[in-house]
């Protein structure tokens, strides 16, 4: 019995263990060198990643509060992998940072929050997971205490997220009033698509939309991404977004299935708005972090397009895309963060002539951007293709056409970066940079993921075999 619980909770528990370990280290004030802590954490995250591959039977704990099955384990593992990559990339930033331990405590508690959120079977559990992840995140985003922008970002983040969770809760309360329960399964049975429930749903949706930064709930994104430490930005843009997408698509496909007709239209609208706005804003950016922020907004537009497919292919393609997206986006963010920690330069113009001095970084950046733009043979191509393919399943080709054209627009600003790196030159280009071991490993993982993912069809097959849809 206990063993069963523990095994089902293995990923969450291990993360919790790490957190407590770090707490003890901190409180015990034992003077460990930061490197040791970093290595320890990375190692344990790696162990956790390995645990994810251990197949264990599906189970439902705490009378329906907590679900777990192969799909969820996979999703958690994807998030875990992303976190691991980020922490590897952050190595050179953290190793001489005083509060490395706190950073990890916060980071991992958000991770645990996401874990609980995506395997929640109940609105209460969902809310707890969400907040467990949101509040540390806001703290993280002001982690550069002395940087003005950082704390400004944090302020915007906490206020708007508090507001959004307020609306989310209001929606939940209305839904509770309408159905009289908090457990997903029962809600699904009791939904009838009445105006009242629809209003509740829209409020809840706005909570999700805020997290995945769908237009018009996205406005915090750019500022927070720009202000926060790049590591946190990377985390926000892939892990947090990915996690929320996981739970979002699950709730849509299971809980709000009766309302499918309604939310399909809403999602199409949001998706178009998100893609277009994200791209249009990204066109004009000169700061790379901001550009990537808007590009990630546009990406969520594409993911929404995939969700609208509301088929197994839709679910599978979304998960697949998020996996790919982790590699590509972390590749790009990794380069940006590495360069900015080394030289503190973050604008596109600073990258002029980068290729002459740092070919490897340039190629990583280029491939990641191509993957984000969906250019073959990078994995991003397959991700985008499947998303829109799933979306087209509904036969709404105008929508898909708009999405396809948006891919062209997005290509423009990605190519601007490429142009700066490969074609332009400047008086004092970024000097030759030595990449330490751990970030290098992270880069290679991203690169490998970008290059080979598309050619390994079985990955998609596996995800598809687990995914849900109707």
């Amino acid at each position: 019995m206990w063993a069963d619980t523990i095994l089902s909770l293995r990923q969450e528990l291990l993360v919790a263990v790490i957190i407590f370990l770090l707490l003890f280290i901190k409180v015990g004030a034992a003077a460990y060198r930061t490197e040791v802590i970093l290595h320890l954490v990375n190692l344990l995250l790696l162990v956790n990643f390995a645990l994810g591959f251990w197949e264990y039977r599906d189970s439902i704990l705490f009378n329906g509060m907590f679900h777990t099955n192969k799909l969820l384990v996979l999703e958690k593992n994807i998030l875990n992998l992303g976190t691991l990559i980020i922490s590897l990339q952050a190595y050179s930033w953290l190793k001489d940072h005083r509060q490395a331990t706190e950073f990890y405590i916060l980071l991992l508690s958000t991770l645990m929050g996401f874990f609980f959120m995506i395997s929640s079977g109940n609105l209460l559990m969902f809310y707890l997971g969400l907040e467990l992840s949101t509040i540390p995140l806001t703290a993280l985003s002001s982690f550069d205490l002395e940087k003005r922008q950082s704390s400004e970002a944090a302020m915007k983040f906490i206020l708007s997220s508090a507001f959004s969770s307020g609306l989310l809760l209001f929606g939940i309360s209305l839904l509770y009033g309408a159905t009289g329960t908090l457990s997903f399964d029962i809600i699904a049975q009791r939904l009838d698509g009445s105006a009242f429930q629809l209003f509740a749903f829209i409020l809840i949706l706005s909570g999700f939309a805020f997290k995945i930064s769908a237009v018009p709930f996205h406005l915090w994104t750019a500022d927070v991404y720009e202000g926060s430490p790049i590591t946190v930005t990377a985390y926000l843009s892939v892990i947090s977004k990915g996690a929320v997408f996981f739970i979002f698509i699950q709730t849509l496909y299971t809980v709000f299935k009766p309302m499918a007709g309604n939310w399909y239209r809403i999602l199409v609208l949001l998706s178009v708005l998100t893609m277009v706005t994200g791209n249009l804003f990204a066109l004009r950016q000169n700061k790379l972090k901001r550009l990537l922020a808007f590009s990630s907004i546009a990406q969520s537009g594409f993911i929404l397009a995939g969700i609208t497919g509301s088929s197994r292919a839709g679910d599978a393609s979304v998960i697949y895309f998020i996996l790919v997206y982790i590699f590509s986006n972390l590749g790009a963010f990794g380069v940006v963060s590495f360069i900015s920690t080394q030289t503190g330069r973050e604008s596109i113009d600073d990258y002029k002539g980068l290729y002459a001095t740092n070919p490897l970084l340039s190629w990583i950046m280029a491939l990641s951007l191509f993957s984000l733009a969906g250019i073959p043979p990078t994995a991003g191509f397959f991700g985008k293709f499947f998303l829109l393919m799933a979306g087209a399943g509904k036969g709404n080709y105008v929508f898909i056409g708009i999405a396809a054209l948006n891919m062209v627009i997005s290509l423009y600003y990605y190519l601007r970066v490429i142009k700066a790196i490969f074609m332009d030159s400047q008086p004092q280009p970024i000097g030759k940079l030595k990449i330490p071991l751990l970030p290098n490993i992270a880069f290679l993982v991203c690169l490998g993921g970008i290059v080979v993912m598309g050619l390994m069809g079985w990955v998609y097959d596996y995800i598809y075999s687990l995914s849900i849809g109707f």
Partner: protein, 104 residues
């Protein structure tokens, strides 16, 4: 004894909700904005309790949810205050208008 109908209570909570929102939109002071958010959360609490008491009195889900919300609101407030203080260190002001360095 005749009791207050549910709709009245819902009206109160909704009013509270919009008051909070209004405060959030108009107040320049970050602390006040934070308080308005708390108002919103409290309106939610009222909702939960009311629904629970009036419609689904057999279970206590709503009430428990309220408890959690209160707790989390506290945590949120703590972090928010911390952030705001930190911002004040850098900005020497808690006027939200002052913090719009990053835009467009």
């Amino acid at each position: 004894m005749n009791q207050v109908p549910l709709s009245h209570i819902l009206f109160v909570s909704t009013a509270l909700f919009f008051i909070g929102m209004y405060g959030l939109f108009t107040r320049r002071n970050m602390i006040t904005m934070l308080m308005s958010v708390e108002l919103i959360l409290n309106s939610v609490n009222i909702n939960f309790v009311a629904f629970n008491r009036y419609l689904y009195a057999d279970k206590l889900e709503g009430v428990f949810f309220t408890l959690f919300i209160v707790a989390i609101a506290a945590a949120e407030a703590a972090v928010a205050i911390a952030i705001i203080i930190n911002l004040y260190r850098n900005l020497h002001s808690i006027d939200v208008e002052a913090a719009d360095e990053m835009k467009f």
